[in-house]
């Protein structure tokens, strides 16, 4: 069985374990997206408020989250907050929290952008047709905003999946970690294991993100 070494992927439960590892990061991303979308919509509306304090607060939050590498945020949540407040968060909880905070900021900015991109004459002509403020929002503004929002929201999901790969660096056992374990166990029998295992992880991530990107692109084209 000393071929290319690709067999190592299918040895025992190796492949299933890799998939389980991938599921760990997927689970974190899905949880974070599910929470970011409603929170982000609220945050986006909050950002359109004319109140100067609301503006300043949301601005600082958005800019800080945006300018810091996600890994730094992850470190702050995992190492910093745990110690400072004596809360013993486990790594996965920290990860979901950080990615939700990040997702909320990104989503909020998307919502604000989408609301701002509806031209004034849409409001004007709705009112000229005798619609009330509620009707203007309900029939004209919100449907258009949603259309503009859906593709970038889907894109946010792929970004989320890609970014959650970082959690290995705060010690969560996900697909890269599982891969490393497989490589370590088979180091002598399959010296080329790292090529195949990391190659497989690469392709698994691609298979997880690519269909979602294609969907986003399709919707963007259709709804433009």
């Amino acid at each position: 069985m000393q071929g290319s070494g690709i067999e190592v992927l299918f040895l025992g439960s190796n492949f299933a374990r890799l998939l389980e590892g991938l599921w760990v990061t997927m689970r974190i991303s899905i949880l974070a997206v599910v929470m970011s979308v409603p929170l982000g919509i609220l945050f986006g509306l909050f950002m359109t408020l004319q109140n100067p304090i609301a503006k300043a607060v949301s601005r600082v939050y958005l800019e800080f989250i945006r300018i810091m590498p996600q890994l730094v945020l992850l470190f702050i949540a995992y190492f910093g907050v745990t110690r400072a407040f004596g809360w013993n968060w486990d790594a996965e909880f920290s990860a979901v929290l950080v990615f939700t905070l990040w997702g909320t900021a990104e989503m909020g900015d998307l919502v604000r952008g989408a609301l701002k991109s509806i031209p004034q004459h849409q409001y004007d002509s709705a009112q000229a047709l005798g619609m009330s403020r509620m009707q203007t929002f309900g029939y004209i503004i919100i449907p258009q905003t949603l259309r503009r929002l859906l593709p970038p929201t889907i894109n946010l999901t792929t970004r989320m999946i890609k970014t959650t790969s970082l959690v290995v660096l705060i010690g969560i056992t996900e697909v890269l970690k599982v891969g490393k374990q497989i490589i370590d166990v088979n180091r002598f029998r399959y010296p080329t294991a790292s090529l195949w295992v990391y190659g497989a992880v690469f392709i698994l991530y691609f298979l997880a993100c690519w269909p979602v990107s294609v969907l986003a692109k399709y919707l963007e084209k259709r709804w433009r």
Binding site: A84, L169, G179, L195
Partner: protein, 222 residues
């Protein structure tokens, strides 16, 4: 802030400075290469070069739909098995270039495509050949339009370099994690980490905002 251990901070700040240099080094060369990749690939896409175009599209999909950390693991741990041994720095720079190349390509391509066809035609009617038309007319305008997008890519890529600690490079993240592990000076280590990234990223972000504002006001619009 008085509970921070200032002795610790002054003692280890040089370590952060050293690490920041590595972060900037990797980001600089990676982004430069990424930009070169972007110029070449976007031109190939713009001119619809037959086979190359498909290859570039495949590259873009592959690069945009996989995490940098996984790309780096493959480069650093996987490739030596087939005789390709690169140092951590080289892998990091290639990784940033591989990832950033696709982002730059997309930004520049949409810039190129936003230039009205009439520009190309009037250049042709003045007798400019394809090369001159690209160099004098299309590319300068596309670049100007792409400035905000390029800036966003630059910031994104600098941030992405934070994952190179995953392949054992002693960058800012690595140093912070090390200090936390060794001395349990978590607050100090993290504060210095945040400050280091702010020192690198804030100027870039401010320049980006200024450029974007200037672009919007100066706009070429006929």
């Amino acid at each position: 802030m008085k509970y921070l251990d200032w002795n610790f901070i002054t003692k280890y700040a040089p370590l952060y400075a050293e690490a920041a240099k590595l972060t900037v080094f990797i980001a600089f060369w990676g982004i430069l290469l990424a930009f070169a990749v972007g110029v070449i690939c976007s031109a190939a896409l713009y001119y619809k070069v037959p086979v190359l175009r498909r290859i570039i599209q495949a590259y873009i999909e592959l690069s945009r739909n996989t995490p940098l950390l996984v790309q780096l693991f493959f480069l650093y741990f996987g490739l030596p098995n087939i005789g390709i041994v690169w140092s951590g720095e080289t892998c990091a720079i290639i990784g940033i270039a591989f990832l950033g190349g696709s982002y730059m390509t997309e930004t520049l391509r949409s810039g190129l495509e936003s230039i009205d066809k009439i520009q190309e035609e009037s250049a042709a009617s003045l007798g400019l050949n394809k090369w001159l038309t690209m160099k004098e007319i299309i590319f300068p305008q596309a670049m100007a339009i792409s400035v905000p997008g390029i800036c966003a890519n630059v910031i994104f890529l600098i941030k992405e370099t934070s994952v190179v600690s995953g392949i054992a490079l002693a960058d800012l993240m690595y140093v912070a994690k090390d200090l936390i592990g060794l001395y349990y000076k978590t607050d100090e280590s993290l504060t210095m980490l945040v400050i280091a990234y702010l020192i690198i990223l804030l100027p870039v972000s401010i320049i980006a905002t200024l450029l974007e504002r200037r672009m919007r006001h100066a706009g070429f619009g006929n």
